[in-house]
């Protein structure tokens, strides 16, 4: 099934298995969501469990917090990444710190699903990568998925979590297909090594996992053996998996779509330096979106990290000839 169908299946299974689970968001009922992730769920579970919300993101997240107070397990859909900001205050000032503020009395089993990232030729505010804002906020879990199985299992784990989870769905991978075993369970804490390799560690997450795997295949032609890690959990970060890999390969490249400054890449690289500096053979590299607002779609193929930029960075860590020498 596609990743979109896998997410739909995960929501259906959680709604069916636990009557405390409710979905709320714009256009998620009758329409089934603009990406059809909630297709058919209102018909099956009714308008009190699958709620078409007024057009107000602060309202969606704020009321979901109240629902969680009252014992429900709300799953919010934010229609696009760029529209989560009106709800930012409710997420970072309220949801994230209720457990802490109340000395553990109030749990926040709240899941906020956000289709994120670019690459679909969309207009402004439809291609953002806001993960760093949330990963920076203590009290939130931030996870992202890369394939249908992972999407299915991780969304179920997110809904079952007692903590607020920012669940980032890589929208340009919604239509990618893969096998889904509904009995498999996932946790929200661990990165996974998708492909073992000898020469360098390539860390990616969400939409860029597929790109990283493709880069690894392309690198084989040059005799370079890349280890690819899917980070999955952006907060908290699975530093151990990354460090173990870097100890084997001695080299690290991190890639994501969000701007590189004050980013997840910065965090992963700093962690690796702290955890296994002695094993690094070269300065780590980050391959990210540029430090610009997400540009008009005519530019996105240049803005988004692609195989060439990733391999160029891999070459640098390996001390091979690379583009910066060509121009310098």
């Amino acid at each position: 099934m596609t990743m979109a169908q896998a997410l739909n299946a995960a929501l259906a299974d959680e709604l069916a298995g636990d009557d405390r689970v409710v979905l709320i968001g714009e256009d998620i009922g009758t329409l089934g969501g603009v990406f059809r992730i909630t297709d058919g769920l209102k018909t099956r579970f009714g308008g009190e469990r699958v709620i078409d919300a007024p057009l107000a993101e602060s309202g969606i997240v704020g009321t979901a917090i109240g629902m969680a107070y009252a014992g429900q397990r709300p799953v919010c859909e934010i229609q696009f990444d760029g529209f989560v900001y009106p709800a930012f205050d409710q997420i970072v000032s309220q949801a994230s710190r209720l457990r802490y503020r109340t000395g553990g009395f109030v749990a926040m089993p709240l899941t906020i699903r956000i289709p994120f990232g670019g690459g679909i030729g969309a207009v402004e505010h439809h291609s953002e990568s806001p993960e760093a804002y949330f990963a920076h906020t203590p009290g939130l879990r931030v996870v992202t998925v890369a394939d249908p199985q992972d999407a299915y299992s991780t969304l179920r784990a997110a809904i079952r979590s007692e903590d607020p989870v920012i669940f980032l769905e890589p929208k340009r991978r919604y239509w990618g297909k893969g096998e889904v075993d509904r009995t498999l369970r996932a946790d929200l804490d661990s990165a996974r090594v998708l492909r073992p390799g000898r020469d360098a560690t390539l860390v990616a997450y969400g939409p860029l996992v597929l790109t990283a795997l493709e880069a690894a295949v392309a690198a084989e032609d040059d005799g370079i053996d890349l280890e690819v890690i899917d980070l999955r959990s952006l907060a908290p970060l699975d530093r151990a998996t990354v460090a173990a890999s870097v100890r084997r390969t001695g080299r690290l490249v991190v890639t994501h779509e969000a701007p590189g400054t004050v980013s997840l890449a910065a965090e992963v690289i700093t962690s690796a330096i702290e955890d296994c500096f002695d094993h690094l053979e070269a300065a780590p590299e980050r391959v990210t979106g540029y430090d610009i607002p997400y540009p008009p779609s005519a530019f996105e193929e240049h803005h988004l990290p692609g195989i060439d930029r990733i391999l160029d960075a891999v070459d640098r860590t390996l001390g091979r000839r690379h583009s910066r020498e060509v121009r310098a």
Partner: protein, 376 residues
């Protein structure tokens, strides 16, 4: 108007709070003590012009939808059905009045002299904003729902402080009235008695969600609670919208503070070209609203006046064809910009971090062969 009767039937025209109307569905003109005094300047030629304006907008819109279907545009938000609302407002404003709109107001942009290439740039993905807001007296399209309502209020506060004449207009949809930003805009506008016109095109839907999800009373009840006077008009009646907009603008200009105008209309097409409206509304409803088509209504009225309708229609069609051709021709001006321009305008001055990123990209692309950004 009544502020007590909740509406259960969300098909608002003909509901308990009958919006102000000048032209009935069949084109008959009826008396409106509120609006008639504002329409005395309209002769038959002026009516024919309004018809031509609406016909042109529809042609532009149809052409843009066709361009999207042919892969020339990434997306387009059709305004079909809302021509009277946009023309009516536009024809009531002064050239100096400043507009803050969302993405569906391409009709207003057209009437503000935005060129076809400027208008298409955003939808083709070659720019985030197509035109100079100050030259057009119109901010570029806002995608974040309701954000522009606050900008309009602030703009109006500043222009009043600076002693400038124009009023500021905030345009938005029915869905926008649910956002916190909108509520805050009303509060600021009322508290500071700001010269701003809130112009809501209630086209009955926010993507798939019918108006009833946003409000169980007419939207125009809402501003009353903070002390902003309202007008509610039939948005498919171009004369009513023009007259009501004038009334509101005059009042605001005279120092009467903010006003809210709800134009009750209908989006005949999809929300955008990627939407499938058959999932959430039925043919019968669509048919009801097709009969209220703003263009047909004015045509019928002209017929009743004994105007040479065939001639009027032919002239309008000619202008519409020209506009559509211009739109298609404008694509040629929208060639992909050079890659380096992606790094411009982040801050007023270049900063070294970005210069470094830009040079790295140029170097990489140079190293890959026949390059983009090679000539830097």
């Amino acid at each position: 108007m009544s502020t007590t009767i909740p509406e259960t039937d969300h098909d608002l025209v003909g509901g308990p709070d009958q919006p102000l109307q000048v032209l009935a569905e069949d084109g008959t003109r009826h008396r409106s003590p509120t609006l008639d005094p504002l329409l005395t300047d309209l002769d038959q030629d002026a009516l024919a012009d309004l018809l031509a304006d609406m016909t042109v907008l529809r042609a532009i819109d149809d052409e843009a939808v066709a361009l999207q279907r042919q892969g020339e545009l990434g997306l387009w938000p059709p305004l079909k059905g809302q021509e009277a609302a946009q023309i009516g407002l536009s024809r009531a404003l002064d050239p100096d009045d400043f507009l803050f709109t969302s993405y569906r107001e391409n009709g207003l942009a057209w009437l503000r002299g935005v060129t076809p290439a400027e208008m298409l740039a955003v939808w083709r993905g070659t720019a985030l904003s197509g035109w100079d807001p100050f030259a057009r007296r119109m901010a570029t399209p806002q995608v974040v729902i309701a954000a522009q309502t606050l900008h309009a209020v602030g703009h109006a506060m500043a222009t009043r402080t600076r002693g400038e004449d124009g009023i500021t207009v905030a345009c938005f949809g029915d869905g926008a009235t649910s956002q916190g930003d909108f509520a805050e805009a009303l509060v600021f506008a009322a508290s500071f008695q700001v010269p701003v016109l809130f112009f809501c095109q209630n086209n009955q839907y926010a993507i798939s969600e019918p108006i009833g999800v946003q409000s169980i009373v007419p939207l125009s009840h809402r501003p009353v609670g903070v002390g902003i006077p309202v007008l509610r008009v039939d948005g498919n009646d171009v004369l009513a919208v023009r007259a009501a907009s004038r009334l509101a603008a005059q009042r605001i200009r005279a120092g009467g503070g903010p006003m809210f105008l709800e134009a009750v209309t209908y989006r005949l097409g999809p929300h955008t070209t990627s939407d499938d409206p058959t999932r959430y509304r039925d043919e019968a409803e669509l048919d009801r609203w097709r009969r209220r088509d703003p263009i047909l209504r004015l045509e019928r009225h002209l017929e009743q006046l004994g105007a040479p309708v065939e001639q009027v229609r032919a002239r309008a069609a000619e202008r519409a064809a020209e506009a559509a051709t211009a739109l298609r021709a404008a694509l040629a001006e929208l060639t992909p910009p050079d890659v380096e321009s992606m790094f411009r305008h982040v801050l007023e001055t270049e900063h070294p971090g970005l210069v470094r990123q830009r040079d790295q990209l140029a170097a990489l692309e140079a190293s890959l062969g026949p390059a983009l950004g090679e000539d830097s």
